[in-house]
């Protein structure tokens, strides 16, 4: 007994202080919940990406190619030469720290390597060593280090703990686009076969069949028919949806998540009902049924291929302009890369609303209009018959999806539409919305279930703001305009603000929308009773 420490001594020995070593010397640990599963070998083979194999981040041996260091070095060199921005971003950071506490993953995890500046340092330290004279001579004194397997593992961990949401970039006085640093980091990792399945499988599927799950055209048609069945049950009206038809005015492109996943399916039904109400002359393509671009999370080549399908299908189907649905990263690619990557789309016309005559000059070059721009224009011109009271059971807030907000500045239109279809709208606190919006923590290929712990960490800032409006204004619904959000915000809300449901804006539009010749509506698109009809259930 005398050897057994006394309670006092035991208490004094409790010490959960983290290691005091600097970031370069602090090892990382892969554990369930903080990394995404690697890409399946078959998937990599299909898209001709190097080093397909079975491996796990928790393994000691990652089965890298023998000359992996050379491959990374050459890849780094090529990209510095090819992308001027990359070279500039490597050089100009003064480590002022303005971005340090802006990342949702840092805010939720407290892991310093989730500070955007430090995430970038993971690459810069190698850049200094390999490509700058000072780094070559001074080494660690100059923040340089040698590329080792541990560094590579660190890259994999932290470039796949970044959703490329660009909140940090908003605060950078030099305008460093940290998402592009992550993109470069991921491109380098691809060269040696270190990538994640939830980015690569959608890339492969989208390239082959047109949507992220690899569903074939006849199945897509069946699914759309199911939705038409539901719409008929709710409204009494049978809608026909033109799929893959030539000779229409508009090509409508939306994320494929809305075809399959609840509650995106209700948003999809909302689009169909809106188009029916205004008699839009449109078609949809099954080959281009994923407007979202998982290539953005992969490499510039993959992004270009997937994005190109939008114009290819527009050309093949002979439309005049393109309307895009509630999607996140489709709009980032569209606004920042599409025009120079696959455009200009001279074979199309500058989009003009057939109902209002509004010409969308902002889309003069890309020829593609966001559905919130389109719908808010319809509402502004009184083209929609709306009964807001059908949404009176909803107390709504709006989550600015990162890419439409920060990458295209779509801030007012979604709010304008919401305020015209619901009576109860409440914004979240100022420093959590609009340009400063907090990410859902599941973008950029990270919205996969094995990553749930990390998603909850990164989702805390959004969940915390949501909980605030829930407590203050009894908010019970969070609207968003991104299919990834519609999937990832559900657990986020369940965990941080239980009782809040997630919806797309056009689901609420369609609930309020009065179709000519419809029967008396008693239920919403989810087939739940509308306010005033609860008794009849």
């Amino acid at each position: 007994m005398s050897d057994f420490p006394r309670p006092d001594e035991l208490y004094k020995s409790i010490d959960y202080s983290p290691p005091a070593t600097g970031w370069m010397d602090t090892p990382i640990k892969f554990r369930p919940g903080n990394w995404c599963y690697p890409a399946k070998p078959d998937v990599l083979r299909y898209v001709h990406f190097p080093n397909p194999r079975e491996w796990s981040a928790e393994d000691k041996d990652w089965k890298l190619p023998e000359n992996w260091q050379d491959i990374i070095h050459q890849g780094f060199r090529e990209r510095l030469k090819k992308f001027r921005t990359f070279q500039v971003f490597m050089d100009i950071c003064v480590r002022c720290g303005a971005c340090a506490d802006k990342c949702h993953y840092f805010i939720g995890s407290g892991d310093p390597k989730n500070m955007p500046v430090l995430r970038a340092e993971l690459l810069r330290s190698i850049y200094r060593k390999d490509f700058t004279l000072a780094g070559k001579i001074l080494g660690k004194l100059n923040g340089a280090r040698v590329m080792t397997e541990d560094v590579l593992k660190e890259w994999f961990m932290y470039f796949y703990q970044c959703t490329e949401c660009r909140r940090c970039s908003l605060y950078c006085p030099y305008g460093i686009d940290t998402a592009e640093i992550t993109m470069m980091g991921r491109e380098l990792l691809h060269l040696v076969g270190c990538n994640i399945n939830w980015a690569m499988e959608p890339v492969a599927n989208c390239e082959r069949t047109g949507n992220h799950l690899g569903i074939q055209p006849h199945a897509m048609k069946d699914i759309v028919d199911f939705m038409c069945d539901d719409i008929e049950e709710i409204t009494g009206k049978r809608i026909t949806v033109p799929l893959n038809e030539k000779g229409h005015e508009v090509l409508f492109t939306t994320p494929s998540g809305d075809f399959f996943a609840d509650p995106g399916t209700y948003t999809f039904m909302g689009y169909l009902m809106l188009f029916e109400a205004i008699g839009l002359d449109y078609t949809m393509s099954t080959y281009n049924s994923e407007g979202g671009n998982f290539g953005l999370f992969t490499s510039h080549d993959a992004m270009k291929i997937l994005n190109g399908k939008i114009y290819n299908e527009a050309k093949r189907l002979g439309v005049k302009w393109i309307l895009g649905g509630e999607c996140g990263h489709m709009w980032r690619v569209l606004n920042q890369y599409m025009d120079t990557m696959n455009g200009p789309a001279d074979f199309l016309e500058v989009p003009k609303s057939p109902l209002t005559g509004t010409v969308f000059h902002n889309a003069k070059s890309t020829k593609m209009v966001h559905i919130c721009e389109f719908t808010s224009d319809l509402i502004r011109h009184g083209k929609l018959k709306l009964d807001k009271s059908r949404n009176d059971n909803l107390r709504v807030t709006f989550h600015d999806s990162c890419n439409p907000a920060r990458a295209m500045g779509l801030l007012e239109e979604p709010r304008y539409v919401i305020k015209n279809v619901v009576n109860n709208f409440f914004d979240m606190p100022e420093n959590t919305i609009r340009e400063q919006t907090f990410c859902c923590a599941g973008g950029a290929g990270l919205g996969t279930d094995e990553f749930m712990d990390m998603r909850m960490r990164g989702g805390l800032p959004r969940g915390n703001a949501l909980r605030y409006v829930q407590e203050k204004h009894d908010v019970n619904t969070m609207a968003c305009i991104c299919a990834i959000d519609r999937a990832t915000l559900i657990p986020l809300a369940d965990y941080w603000a239980p009782g809040v449901q997630i919806t797309g804006i056009h689901e609420m539009v369609a609930n309020a929308l009065i179709l000519d010749g419809e029967k008396q509506r008693t239920m919403n698109l989810r087939q739940e009773p509308l306010p005033g009809f609860e008794e009849e259930e």
């Binding site: 006092d8 199945a219 959590t432 712990d453 800032p461």
Partner: protein, 175 residues
């Protein structure tokens, strides 16, 4: 002066120290940022730590309302349940209070021959730990439930397409 009076008198100081030792379970760079930033939306973890320490301290002294105590701890435990902590590390913040009180008051109480008072007060902290364990487990269960729910939701239309949903509400469905 009873122990509870002593604790109440030194509340601000003790709460501050408790908050500091909880913050010290995070890396040094992080502590700096989380101590500086007082905006609850920019820094939810830092603010939650300080608020929890403060409110929990009051509730511990009153020791009246178990539900209020559980609610008070819930946010901090939910946060730590999804951070890079082992289960014991996640709820260690409760025991850190025990350690703190022994360090701060142990000698004084021993000299006064009143150490028993501290021992009996510590049973409250032990109770707190049990409650924390429940909340932690519930949070972890929820994470796993959310993973299942997410998979179900992401494929509903496909299940319908594959004729894999036999909806009992449908008129043709058998019992």
């Amino acid at each position: 002066m009873s122990l509870e009076d002593k604790l109440a008198a030194r509340k601000t100081e003790l709460v501050g120290k408790w908050g500091d030792v909880i913050l010290a379970t995070y890396p040094a760079e992080t502590q700096k940022v989380w101590k500086r930033q007082r905006d609850r939306f920019a820094n939810p973890v830092g603010v939650t730590i300080l608020e929890t320490a403060q409110n929990l301290f009051d509730l511990l002294l009153c020791w009246q309302d178990a539900e209020a105590i559980a609610n008070c701890m819930e946010m901090l435990i939910k946060i730590r349940a999804v951070q890079q902590f082992s289960p014991s590390q996640a709820i260690s913040f409760v025991f850190l209070l025990k350690k703190l009180l022994r360090e701060e008051l142990g000698d004084e109480l021993r000299m006064e021959g009143a150490i028993e008072e501290l021992m009996s007060f510590e049973t409250r902290i032990d109770n707190l730990a049990l409650m924390a364990f429940d909340i932690y487990s519930k949070s972890r269960e929820q994470v796993y439930e959310m993973r299942i729910k997410e998979i179900k939701l992401s494929h509903r239309m496909l299940m319908r397409k594959a004729d894999m949903i036999a909806d009992v509400a449908a008129p043709t469905a058998d019992k």
